[in-house]
């Protein structure tokens, strides 16, 4: 009996020890499972930033941020969540090729409830599973957000990092319905390709409400979007024109040429043409005869590729201040593509002038010229050609396919348009 008690005691002691060890192992295994599930969740995250990545909400630019920074703008960042799991953004890093000047180190954006400089809206930080085009608002000093290439890194609360480079090349996400490549120029046919202003229509509709419909018998400024596919800076020449030939309606066979006008002002660009390259000038060319531009009647400022009387200063063959600072260099100089096969950021060209504006032409003295218009019958149709002249600048080794020693010219079959009457509100809609 005593032996039995001893054996039983030993058995019980061992059993208790084994039970304790098993319980501890169970707890440990529970932790392993929990952390494994967290790892699975973590690696399931998949964010993608679609084209154009970052954009400016036109109606709310220039908002004042808290903290005494009056030049803080609100930007929006569109994000697709490709995963079947919700994701929360914890922080955004912005790095620039202008290291140390954009911010002291990388620019760090943390979540915040209000509009504070270098923050993003905390309520936008959670992205639902499979949500597309989720918009995250962030505030940033507008003078820091220039056209320099920037790397955005989105850090999630689970510790994943998703990065993209801004600007995103148009060919990687714009999905144009068709592209035309001729020489250094590329044209993407979509609803943002062309728009216009007139003396009675000061705001360029983007996109056009009625397709390729433009008002007749009123002077127009056309804004045409082109990209550069050469790996060199391309300077446009003032012989370039937007040329229409009427092919239906009374007056068939008539032709009209809209020559290049001086580039738009920085402020006007920021208001209506965000996410595109621009060539800053203080002149403007918002609509024909805009008195704020110092114009009268139906005049516009013509584009002069070399003239010393081009206001506000000379247009010269340099790339000084191409980064976006207002400069005395109102040339159309298209930025180079990142590499062969890609397109540069698009640039809007302004066509309006009745004559090519260069110094030898008396009609262009002082840079002003008359705006042009479609004078044929309302409802007439035109075929439009884009006659483009350019010269490569040979910057940074240039592009082997484009010698800076020559002027190049191509004619692009562009679009067909129909004129309409803005006074007639019936369809086809004409604004």
């Amino acid at each position: 009996m005593i032996g039995g008690i001893i054996v039983l005691s030993l058995f019980l002691v061992a059993l208790v020890a084994m039970i304790l060890v098993s319980q501890q192992y169970d707890v440990y295994q529970g932790t392993v499972n929990k952390m494994s599930q967290k790892d699975i969740d973590r690696f399931s995250e998949d964010l993608q930033v679609p084209y154009p990545g970052v954009s400016w909400p036109p109606a709310e630019t220039g908002v004042s941020c808290a903290g005494g920074n009056p030049s803080c703008d609100r930007f929006t960042l569109a994000i697709n969540n490709l995963a079947g799991i919700g994701t929360q953004i914890a922080r955004i890093y912005i790095n620039s090729t202008k290291a140390g000047t954009l911010c002291s180190g990388p620019c760090v954006l943390d979540p915040a409830t209000g509009s504070t400089n270098s923050t993003f809206r905390v309520s936008d930080s959670l992205i639902n599973p499979s949500e597309t085009n989720h918009v995250v608002d962030f505030w940033f000093a507008s003078n820091r957000f220039d056209n320099e290439t920037k790397t955005f890194s989105l850090v999630t609360t689970r510790g994943r990092i998703f990065s993209f480079t801004w600007p995103i090349p148009a060919t990687k996400g714009a999905n144009p319905t068709g592209s035309l490549y001729l020489g250094c120029l590329a044209i993407n046919f979509d609803n943002l390709l062309v728009t216009y202003t007139s003396a009675n229509h000061n705001t360029p509709p983007t996109p056009l409400a009625g397709g390729w419909l433009f008002p007749g018998s009123t002077n127009l400024i056309f804004y045409v979007r082109v990209s550069n596919i050469c790996t060199d800076y391309v300077k446009l020449l003032d012989k370039s024109t937007f040329y229409g030939i009427q092919y239906t309606g009374a007056g068939t066979g008539a032709s009209v040429a809209f020559y290049l006008a001086a580039p738009m002002s920085e402020g006007y660009h920021d208001q209506y043409f965000s996410s595109s390259w621009y060539i800053p000038t203080t002149r403007g060319n918002t609509y024909p005869g805009n008195t704020a531009d110092g114009l009268a009647g139906n005049n516009v400022w013509g584009y002069n590729q070399t003239s010393a009387d081009q206001p506000p200063g000379n247009c010269v063959n340099t790339i000084t201040d191409l980064g976006g600072t207002p400069s005395n260099n109102p040339c159309y100089i298209l930025p180079p593509a990142g590499k062969k096969g890609e397109q540069s950021l698009p640039t809007y060209l302004l066509f309006s002038a009745t004559d090519p504006c260069y110094k030898s032409k008396p009609t262009c003295s002082g840079g002003q010229t008359q705006g042009n218009n479609f004078q044929g019958v309302i409802g007439g149709t035109y075929v439009i050609f884009l006659a483009m002249y350019w010269q490569c600048m040979g910057v940074g080794g240039g592009d082997a396919t484009c010698s800076p020693n020559y002027e190049f010219g191509v004619t692009l079959p562009f679009i067909t348009i129909q004129t309409c009457d803005p006074a007639n509100k019936k369809l086809p809609y004409c604004t």
Binding site: I2, V27, T31, R91, A99, P106, S153, T157, G159
Partner: protein
Amino acid sequence: MKRNLAVSTVVANMLMISITLSLAAILVAWAGTTYGTFSGSSQLFFLQRGQALQERFVIEYVYFIKNPTSMIQIFVRNVGVKEIQVAAIYVNSNSFTGSFMNPQSPCTVDNNAVTMTVGQSSSTSVCQFLVATTWASGSTVSIVVATLRGNQATYWARGP
């Protein structure tokens, strides 16, 4: 006839029982101590392993300061469920401990380690370390952040 003296049968039995019980008690005590030590050790092992397992942290961003090229900014985030204590940072096998890790406010060095709390709302769930080390453009830099529990996060980068 000479009579041999000895303990009686009863006393002998009692002696045997006493000896047996004593040995049994010793055996049970020894077994209890042994099993207790075993279970205690395993409890400590599983506890420590469990705590280490709950640590998750990432090097979320590294920035090379260019002027001068003698500083590297390292951003570390605690994404686990336990607070962590960063004990050392290694840059190309050169160790930086204590104040040499140079954590930026609000993170601080305490007992030669930088404690990083849990939770997005906590200001010390992400810490920025400003490590004084020279780097060269194009050269590979290996960065390792180590915690007191023995976990590591590694990051490879090339100087811009």
